[in-house]
């Protein structure tokens, strides 16, 4: 089983969070060919796989982490939780800096440092979402093979 945590916190402006990975559908399609995928998240988020576990409390998320082979997420609380639990995974980075907000225990996939926003400490509402900031699913799948 593999966990996906596809979305960062919803913004107050209702705009798409710029940290959200844009190619989940393609990625999930490939993943599901070989492994059971569990999506975690909260009510209102788009369902990507049949097994979507919403609003799990933190102890349940910690338990789930120990059942998975690995996990894939974006820069959200889940990557910190998994780090705290000692379960490494893959984090898909866009505008935020993995050297500041990430953990070296994970595989941190950043397309290029030029994709990072200059000011890392402003509200994310001020940053526009852009697909161009992110790696393509193929690269993620290659890392999964390792």
């Amino acid at each position: 089983m593999i966990i996906i945590s596809p979305y960062a916190q919803k913004l107050r402006t209702n705009k798409e969070n710029p940290k959200n990975y844009p190619y989940w559908e393609q990625l999930v399609q490939e993943l599901q060919k070989t492994i059971h995928v569990v999506q975690i998240g909260v009510e209102g988020e788009k369902q990507l796989v049949p097994d979507f576990r919403k609003n799990l409390p933190i102890p349940a998320l910690r338990e789930l982490l120990w059942q998975c082979k690995t996990w894939i997420g974006v820069d959200s609380f889940f990557q910190h939780l998994a780090w705290d639990e000692g379960v490494p995974g893959i984090v898909l980075w866009g505008p935020s800096d993995p050297l500041i907000f990430g953990h070296p225990e994970n595989i941190n996939l950043l397309k290029d440092r030029s994709c990072l926003v200059e000011n890392q400490f402003i509200w994310w509402e001020a940053t526009e979402h852009s697909n161009d900031r992110f790696v393509k699913p193929k690269e993620i799948l290659e890392h999964l093979k390792e």
Binding site: I58, S76, Q79, H80, I100
Partner: protein, 324 residues
């Protein structure tokens, strides 16, 4: 060489004591690296049109002293001081708009920077004519703040470590914050600020031989508010901060992930008093309580701090820098 910014917050004193103050700053034996006048007047004027000020600006230019006249945002002098505090200088010499320093003041204060490596702030005599109280035996300790006059008001001949300073002094910039939760009168703002510097491990000194004449002016002034509630509000924040002085106050007004990262360093923080958004991750009291107790939570905003520090390292290390 440490760079010194001189900041003057002014309101209602264009043609009374402010010119005396500016003249005194221009004529310091140790020139400041920059002068910024923060104009908090209700109806600010372009002082370049005024004969007297034209001369001041020319004198500054001729002496090679950088200067700026900034219009402030009418929130009180603590907001102004915080702007100066974060203006990128090593030290800030704050001078009130009715406090006229003698020509040697900055030179006398500045020389303590090299003599006292952990210096946080240094002040000297602030004399208010006609009465100069006898301050022999005054401790300058925060516990005695209700029972003794401020040591700077009187005569003394030797340097002394104290807990807090008053009115005008030279301080190490960017180490601690002014409390922006105070009301517009900013009652106790400099006491809180210098005491917090001391709480961070820096020495606060009063030193002799540098006199600033406090020409207390009933008209104008950055604190020209009379509402009793404002003073009471600020006094309560001051008392609350004193009450918690032996605790390390932790305020996590941030996201769930930040709480998780922070939780790793919590065991290393001595005597922590925690206020938390996610008590299921980091147990603590509510953020509303923290606001009520301390006024402004910005000093605990790790994102603002990282921005201020131009941070490039990890979030966990930023928390360590903040709290350990």
């Amino acid at each position: 060489m440490s760079k010194v910014l001189c900041s003057v917050a002014t309101r209602g004193r264009y043609f009374t004591t402010l010119p005396l103050v500016l003249n005194a700053i221009i004529n310091q034996s140790k020139p400041v690296d920059k002068l910024i006048v923060y104009d908090d007047n209700d109806e600010p004027q372009d002082m370049r049109k005024e004969f007297l000020y034209q001369h001041f600006f020319q004198m500054l230019d001729i002496k090679g002293i950088a200067w700026e006249w900034q219009y402030a945002d009418k929130k009180g002098q603590h907001h102004i001081h915080q702007r100066a505090n974060l203006a990128g200088f090593d030290w800030v010499w704050r001078v009130d708009d009715d406090a006229v320093p003698e020509p040697n003041v900055l030179e006398e204060l500045y020389r303590w920077i090299d003599m006292w490596p952990d210096l946080g702030a240094v002040g000297s005599h602030i004399w208010t004519p006609p009465h100069i109280p006898n301050t022999a035996g005054i401790t300058g300790r925060i516990d005695n703040i209700d029972s003794e006059p401020n040591i700077q008001w009187g005569k003394f001949n030797v340097a002394q470590e104290v807990d807090h300073l008053h009115c005008s002094f030279l301080y190490r910039a960017g180490v601690t914050d002014y409390n922006l939760g105070l009301s517009r009168v900013a009652h106790r703002e400099e006491t809180l600020f210098t005491f917090q510097l001391q709480q961070k491990g820096y020495s606060i000194l009063v030193v002799p031989n540098a006199i600033t004449w406090h020409m207390k002016n009933p008209d104008g002034g950055i604190r020209s508010e009379t509402r009793k509630e404002m003073y009471e509000h600020d006094e309560q924040i001051f008392r609350n901060i004193l009450q918690y002085r032996d605790r390390t106050i932790v305020v996590l007004n941030c996201g769930l992930g930040d709480h998780i990262v922070f939780s790793r360093i919590l065991p290393s923080i001595p005597n922590a008093e925690v206020f938390s958004c996610y008590p299921e991750v980091v147990p603590g009291r509510s953020i509303a309580e923290a606001v009520q107790l301390f006024g402004d939570l910005d000093p605990w905003n790790v994102y603002k701090k990282m921005d201020q520090w131009k941070w490039k390292d990890s979030l966990e290390k930023a928390y360590r820098k903040m709290y350990l």
